[in-house]
Symmetry: C2
Subunit: 288 residues, 2 copies
Amino acid sequence: MTSTQQTTTGGSSAAGSEFDRGIALERRAEGEYDGHLDGAWSIGAGINGGMLLAAAGNALRHTFADEAHPDPISVSAYYLSAAKDGPARFATEVVRRGRSMSTGTVTISQHDGGAQVERVRALATYGDLTALPDEVRTTATAPELPPLEQCLGSDLAPPEFKKNAPLLNRFDLRLDPATAGWAIGKPSGRGLIQGWLRLADGREPDPISLLLALDALPPVTFDLGLPGWAPTLELTAHIRAVPAPGWLRVVHATRNFAGGLLEEDAEVWDSTGRLVAQSRQLARAPRG
Amino acid sequence: MTSTQQTTTGGSSAAGSEFDRGIALERRAEGEYDGHLDGAWSIGAGINGGMLLAAAGNALRHTFADEAHPDPISVSAYYLSAAKDGPARFATEVVRRGRSMSTGTVTISQHDGGAQVERVRALATYGDLTALPDEVRTTATAPELPPLEQCLGSDLAPPEFKKNAPLLNRFDLRLDPATAGWAIGKPSGRGLIQGWLRLADGREPDPISLLLALDALPPVTFDLGLPGWAPTLELTAHIRAVPAPGWLRVVHATRNFAGGLLEEDAEVWDSTGRLVAQSRQLARAPRG
């Protein structure tokens, strides 16, 4: 990175996709980048948390690319205030440069009410996913989903959710009907939602877009009969392999809804059946 | 906090316990504390990651106590180098002060090889667990463990693990025999270890000691037939309620051992059957 105005994206051959435009950065100075958060990725009160995670992850990708550690391995994001459509600053700090992995922080902030307000603070470790050993002893099994044509589009989301959800148009999301009873007023109460996912414009997945995929499905609280908004306090993503091209299978589940908070776990499986990403988030329970 | 030399501990009535001595801090300046990492809490190559998490959590507890946010809600720790017996510095930074929760960072560093070397960097959100709503809709169920007297003490750990594990003496740990086959050369291959846990000196659990409990059991890789050391890269803890006095039930499990890394999930249940803490960590797989 030598130019101070070079536009940089997460996908080498996919600069034309709306995802890559959404996370594009211009370098201002060492570790500092300008971006633009696009309202097309908003849902509810602000920009989707997965998109913020991907944008933050893209900034660290550039910071660590010089050490041959371009891939997110673990990213922990704390959401501080709702991000809006408009310019944003990304500031990264290198905490530790290691041989096989490096650790750093990234902050997303926006000008708001006369001050620069922090939206997200994240701490992350980067490495080279292609340099990891090949052995796979995963005991988890991929979700069994009905064929794509038997799954349901995201247009079935509750009206309360859809009315301010341009994000839904960024995905081609096909939900397993067995986990979508909430769409017809019959939530299962299990706290489980799963389905097929890809970007609407066909842009293939990569380690940075997996950060988005981990927070792309409707909140599992829909399946608990709570149609409202569940703002994320914290989300930690583990990216475990470079995903193969094709549809992703995504599972969201919660085990512990209590005290006005819930944990939500996500798994992303690629088209070869590899568990390529996992996340856990802590969110505020919807009211009502 | 007005005295610059006041010794501060995590438990109000438990200052005499070895856990409270282990996490005790002296305030140097605003947000800066001196501590001493005691080799009595070490295992393998360094101080136990759960003890470092508790010590870091105690520093932030003091930083946020003034805003009435004394309890860890979510703590994400990145482990940068092995911590040794000896003095350590704790530096906290407030990222955001909120009404119901506040977010900050904490760094643990030690003098090593002529320089101050960072051991742990953590990002965390604190609040007041006693102020959360009472509703509990947890769908997870507590592990069914045999009675204490039918469980197995930690003296059954593999010799390779025990030879440098003073940590084992800090706990009274009783493992479910159904998940301890690895002790007699018969790992189940499921990647599951569970048991009863309390501090050896009887010190009752609180939100800070739960940070330790989340990383107190042997690595689940024992149950995959891998007796070596599995160093943590990242661990995120969610503390969900103030634990009741008495024995804790702890479950460690992995779902995704691949590419030389594994995720390890922990749950801590208190004596009333409440799921009081959850964590997920990403660790390096043991060699061999």
